[in-house]
C-alpha cells in the first residue's frame, strides 16, 4: 500500500528553507514564482487541449440529450420531452459535422507536428497524444453510433409495427372476402343444381312438344284426309241419291 509522503516533502522544503536562511543563502522566490505561473503553454498542447475540450462538449451534448433522443419508453412522457424526428435528424447531422471537424483538426495537428523539426522524444510524445485523442474521439463516436443504432432500431421497430398492423388489417379484410366468396360459391352450387334439374324437365317438355307437334301435324293430315274422305263420301252419296232418283224416275217412266 503506497504511503503519501508529500506532506513530509513539504516539511523538508520548509526545513531546507529555514536552514538556507540561517546560513544566508537565499533565493528570490516571489517574482519568479509569479513568472512561472504564467509560463506560456506551447502551441501544440494548447491546440490538443482545445480539441479535447471540443470532443468533451460533444460528449456532454450527446449524453444530455440521450434520454430524449432514445425516448426511454416511459408511458407518461410529456410532450415537452418528446423529440420529433426532425430534431433527432438535426442532432444527427450536427454530431456528424462536429465529429468530422474534430478528426480534421486531429489530422491537421498530426501533419503540423510531422513538419516541425523537434527532437525524437517530443515527436513520439506528440504522436502518442494524438493517438489518445483519436481513441477518445472514437469512444465518443461510439456513444453516438450506439444512440443512433437504438434510434434506427426503434424506427425499424416502429415500421415493423406499422407493417404488422397493416398486414393484419389486410388479413382481416381478406378473410371477410373469403367468407363472402365461400357463400357465393355455395349459392352458385345450389343454382347450378336447380338449373340442372330444370334442364331435364325442359328436355321432357321439349320432347312432349315435339311429339305434340307431330301429332298435330298428323292430325292435320288426318283431318285433311277426313275432309277429303268426307268430300268423296259426299260425292258418292250424292251420286247414289241422284242415281236413286234417276232410277226412280226411270221406274216411274217405265211403268207409265
Amino acid at each position: 500500500m503506497a504511503v503519501d509522503i508529500t506532506v513530509l516533502f513539504k516539511a523538508s522544503v520548509k526545513t531546507v528553507k529555514t536552514r538556507n536562511k540561517a546560513i544566508g543563502v537565499g533565493f528570490d522566490l516571489p517574482k519568479e514564482e509569479i513568472f512561472k505561473k504564467s509560463r506560456p503553454k506551447h502551441g501544440f498542447s494548447l491546440k490538443a487541449k482545445e480539441v479535447i475540450s471540443n470532443i468533451t462538449k460533444l460528449k456532454d451534448f450527446l449524453l444530455q440529450h440521450r434520454k430524449d433522443y432514445v425516448n426511454a419508453g416511459s408511458l407518461i412522457s410529456s410532450d415537452l420531452t418528446r423529440m420529433t424526428d426532425n430534431e433527432r435528424d438535426q442532432i444527427d447531422q450536427d454530431a456528424q459535422i462536429f465529429m468530422r471537424t474534430c478528426s480534421e483538426a486531429i489530422k491537421q495537428l498530426r501533419s503540423e507536428a510531422e513538419k516541425q523539426v523537434i527532437p525524437t522524444q517530443i515527436r513520439e510524445h506528440r504522436g502518442a497524444v494524438l493517438d489518445l485523442i483519436e481513441i477518445y474521439l472514437r469512444g465518443v463516436c461510439k456513444l453516438y453510433s450506439e444512440q443512433r443504432a437504438i434510434r434506427v432500431k426503434r424506427v425499424f421497430e416502429q415500421e415493423n409495427q406499422r407493417l404488422v398492423s397493416e398486414m393484419s388489417n389486410l388479413v382481416d379484410e381478406v378473410r371477410q372476402i373469403e367468407g363472402k366468396v365461400v357463400e357465393i360459391s355455395r349459392l352458385q352450387e345450389i343454382f347450378a343444381e336447380k338449373v340442372l334439374m330444370q334442364e331435364t324437365e325442359i328436355d321432357s317438355i321439349h320432347q312432349l312438344v315435339v311429339g305434340a307437334t307431330e301429332n298435330v301435324k298428323e292430325g292435320n293430315e288426318d283431318i285433311r284426309e277426313a275432309i277429303k274422305n268426307n268430300a268423296g263420301f259426299r260425292v258418292w252419296i250424292l251420286f247414289f241419291l241422284v242415281m236413286c232418283s234417276f232410277s226412280l224416275l226411270f221406274l216411274d217412266w217405265y211403268d207409265s
Partner: protein, 613 residues
C-alpha cells in the same frame, strides 16, 4: 475472491499511473497524457505486469529510463518510479533544475530516507520547482511478481544477493548485513502490498534465520508505530486473510542443492532450463532451417525472437506445469481446433458467396441462420487470430525445447536423476552415462554427477571418485563446483545426522508425484505435523508483544495460506512442485518466492566460482 499478489501489485501500479488516485471505470473519459520515467528496477517490476499497450491505454505517451538522455517536454506531467539510490536522486535533482517537465509525481519503489528527501527539496528550491513537485509517494513495491503465486526479489544487481554472494567463504559482516537488509526490505514491501502480517518460521543457524530475525524486527517496529503503521484498517483489504494470518516459511538454499541442478520435464521449468527465459520473456534464435544442432555447425540465417508468456495466454496458464509430452499433444489439439474454426469461417464465406446465385431450397431456409453465423464468425475473428499467434508461439518454443531435449538426451538424464533422488534401483551405471559422448553437454553430466554425489547416502570411495573425476575431465567438465559441494557436504553432514534428502514417492507412475524437500517442510509446518526436521524451527510472531525464543507455535490449527521464501535462490522446479502440492489440497494457497531465479547452468557457474576459492 481474494486478489492475488500480482493483481494487487498491478492495481497499485495502475493507481500510481493515475496520479495516485483510483482509476475511473468510465471508458469514455478525457485522456490525460503523462510521461513515465523509471529506472531498471522499476522497469523489471512493471514489465511482467503491464504491457506497453496497457500503458498507452492509461495515457502514458512515453516511457523512458531515468539515466537516459531526455528532452524537455514542458507541458506534460511526469511520473517517476525509481529506487531511492544516490544516483537516482541526483538525476532527479538534475531534472528539476533543467525543468524538463511541467509537474513531477515522484514514486519511490521502497521507502526513501529523510536526508535524501531533503536533497530533493533543496534542489527543488534552487530550481524554483517546489510547486511543480505535486506528489511524493513511497510505493513499497520492491519485488517482482512473475506469476499469481510467485515472486522474486530483483533482477538487476542480483549478483549482490546471489547464492554466491551469501555463501562465499570470505564474506565480511558488513557485506552480509547489506545483503540481509536488501532482502528484508523487499520482503517488507511484499507484506505491505499483501496487506498481512505473517507468522514466520525458519530453520536455525543459517542465512534464513538472519533474514527472519531482521524481518520480524522490522515488522514489529512498524506495527508499534501506530501513527505510520502500514498494516492498519484499509490495508487489510476485504478480509482476505480475515481469519488467519499467513504462514511465512523461510528456507535456505543450502538445505537442498540437488533440485536446482535437476533436469526437469515440465514445460515452464524446461523453458527456463534450456532457453533464455527472464521475467516471463523467452528469447530464442529463430533459424530458417529446422535442424538446430547445439554446436551450431551450420549456422543458418538466425534472428533473435522474443516472446512474452503472459497471464492472458490461456494455453500457457493451463500447460505451464504439464509434462512436456502432454504439452506437445495439446499444441497439436489446439492447432486442430483452430483449423476447424478456420474451415468453418471459410465455409460460411463460400456459402454467403453462393447465396445470391443458388436458389435452391436449402440456402433459402438457412438464410437467417447464416446471418447469425456470419456475425459470430466476424466477431470471433480477432480471437481466432490471437489464438493462431499463440499457437505459433508455443509451436516455436516447444520445437526449440524439443531440439534441445533430443540433442542432449535430456529425457535420459531426467529419468536417471529421478531414480537417484528417490533412491530406487539404478539400471545403468553412472559411469556409462558420463562416458557416453552423445548424451548431453559437459554441464549436463556435471549436474548428474553432482546430484549423485549429493544424494548418495555414503560418499563414494576415493577410487570410485577418481574414476568419476577422470571420466568427467575427459568430457571436459569443470570440477571446481565439485570442490564446493564436497566442502558443503562435509559441513552439512556434520550438522545434521540423518540423511536429509529423502523424497517420498507417492505414486509409481512414470512421472512420480514427489515432494521436494521444500514442499515437505512446508507441508509439515502448514499442517502442524510433528517432524524432527521442522520441530526445531524458530517461531516469530511480529504481533506478539514480546519476542520469544521458543519454537512452540501458539495456535494449533493448520494454516490456510502460506508463503515460502528460499534465501539464496530458487527455480521453477520447486515452484511447480509447490503448485502441484497446492492443487492436491483445495482451499489452501501457497506463494513461492526466492531471492533470485536461476537455472541449473547459472547455478553451476556460481558453484564453480565458489569451489575455486
Amino acid at each position: 475472491m481474494a486478489a492475488s499478489v500480482r493483481e494487487k501489485q498491478a492495481a497499485a501500479l495502475k493507481r500510481m499511473l493515475n496520479f495516485n488516485t483510483s482509476p475511473l471505470k468510465n471508458t469514455a473519459a478525457e485522456p490525460v497524457w503523462k510521461v513515465l520515467i523509471y529506472d531498471r528496477f522499476g522497469q523489471d517490476i512493471i514489465s511482467p505486469l503491464l504491457a506497453v499497450k496497457e500503458l498507452r491505454d492509461m495515457g502514458i505517451t512515453l516511457h523512458l529510463l531515468l539515466h537516459s538522455d531526455r528532452d524537455p517536454i514542458p507541458d506534460v506531467p511526469a511520473i517517476y518510479f525509481v529506487m531511492p539510490t544516490e544516483e537516482n536522486i541526483d538525476r532527479i535533482c538534475q531534472d528539476l533544475r533543467n525543468q524538463l517537465y511541467e509537474s513531477y509525481y515522484l514514486n519511490f519503489i521502497s521507502a526513501i530516507s529523510r536526508s535524501k528527501l531533503e536533497d530533493i527539496a533543496s534542489a527543488a528550491l534552487s530550481a524554483n520547482a517546489v510547486t511543480q513537485v505535486t506528489k511524493v509517494f513511497d510505493q513499497y513495491l520492491n519485488f517482482i511478481t512473475l506469476e499469481d503465486d510467485m515472486f522474486i526479489l530483483c533482477n538487476q544487481n542480483k549478483e549482490l544477493i546471489s547464492y554466491h554472494a551469501i555463501n562465499k567463504p570470505d564474506i565480511m559482516d558488513t557485506e552480509m548485513e547489506a545483503i540481509m537488509d536488501t532482502i528484508v526490505d523487499s520482503l517488507f514491501c511484499f507484506f505491505v502490498t499483501l496487506g498481512a502480517v505473517p507468522i514466520i518460521r525458519c530453520p536455525r543457524g543459517n542465512a534464513a534465520e538472519m533474514v527472519a530475525v531482521k524481518l520480524d524486527k522490522k515488522l514489529r517496529e512498524n506495527l508499534r508505530d501506530a501513527r505510520n503503521s502500514l498494516f492498519t484498517g484499509d490495508n487489510m483489504g476485504a478480509g482476505q486473510f480475515s481469519f488467519q494470518r499467513p504462514l511465512f516459511v523461510l528456507a535456505d538454499r543450502n538445505l537442498d542443492l540437488a533440485t536446482p541442478l535437476h533436469h526437469t520435464w515440465t514445460y515452464q521449468a524446461l523453458i527456463h532450463d534450456v532457453l533464455d527465459f527472464h521475467l516471463n520473456r523467452v528469447s530464442m534464435d529463430e533459424s530458417v532451417g529446422s535442424e538446430a544442432s547445439p554446436s551450431g555447425a551450420r549456422p543458418k540465417k538466425k534472428n533473435k525472437k522474443s516472446y512474452d508468456l503472459t497471464a492472458a495466454d490461456k494455453f500457457w496458464q493451463k500447460h505451464k506445469g504439464s509434462p512436456f509430452p502432454e504439452v506437445a499433444e495439446s499444441v497439436q489439439e489446439e492447432l486442430d481446433t483452430y483449423r476447424a474454426q478456420e474451415d468453418e469461417v471459410k465455409r460460411l464465406k463460400s456459402i454467403m458467396g453462393l447465396e445470391g446465385e443458388d436458389e435452391g431450397p436449402i440456402s433459402s431456409i438457412s438464410m437467417s441462420d447464416n446471418t447469425a453465423k456470419l456475425t459470430s464468425a466476424v466477431s470471433s475473428l480477432p480471437e481466432l487470430l490471437e489464438k493462431k499467434r499463440l499457437i505459433d508461439l508455443h509451436t516455436n518454443v516447444a520445437t526449440a525445447v524439443l531440439d534441445h531435449i533430443k540433442s542432449r538426451k535430456l529425457d535420459v538424464y531426467f529419468e536417471y536423476e529421478e531414480k537417484l533422488m528417490s533412491k530406487s534401483t539404478l539400471e545403468k551405471s553412472l559411469l556409462d552415462i558420463i562416458s557416453d559422448p552423445d548424451a548431453g553437454t559437459p554441464e549436463d553430466k556435471m549436474r548428474l554427477f553432482l546430484i549423485f554425489y549429493i544424494t548418495a547416502l555414503q560418499p563414494p570411495s576415493e577410487t570410485d571418485l577418481d574414476q568419476y573425476k577422470k571420466a568427467l575431465l575427459e568430457t571436459g567438465c569443470d570440477l571446481s563446483s565439485l570442490n564446493y559441494i564436497k566442502q558443503w557436504n562435509l559441513f552439512s553432514r556434520v550438522m545434521n545426522s540423518g540423511s536429509q534428502f529423502v523424497m517420498e514417492g507417492v505414486k509409481h507412475l512414470v512421472l512420480k508425484q514427489h515432494n521436494l524437500p521444500v514442499t515437505r517442510i512446508l507441508d509439515n509446518l502448514m499442517e502442524m505435523k510433528s517432524n524432527p526436521e521442522t520441530d526445531d524451527y524458530r517461531y516469530f510472531d511480529p504481533k506478539m508483544l514480546r519476542g520469544s525464543e521458543s519454537s512452540t507455535p501458539r495456535n494449533k490449527n493448520p494454516f490456510q495460506e502460506a508463503i515460502v521464501f528460499v534465501v539464496g535462490g530458487g527455480n521453477y522446479i520447486e515452484y511447480q512442485n509447490l503448485v502441484d502440492y497446492t492443487k492436491a489440497k483445495p482451499g489452501k494457497r501457497v506463494l513461492y518466492g526466492c531471492s533470485e531465479l536461476f537455472n541449473a547452468g547459472q547455478f553451476i557457474k556460481q558453484l564453480s566460482s565458489l569451489g575455486q576459492k
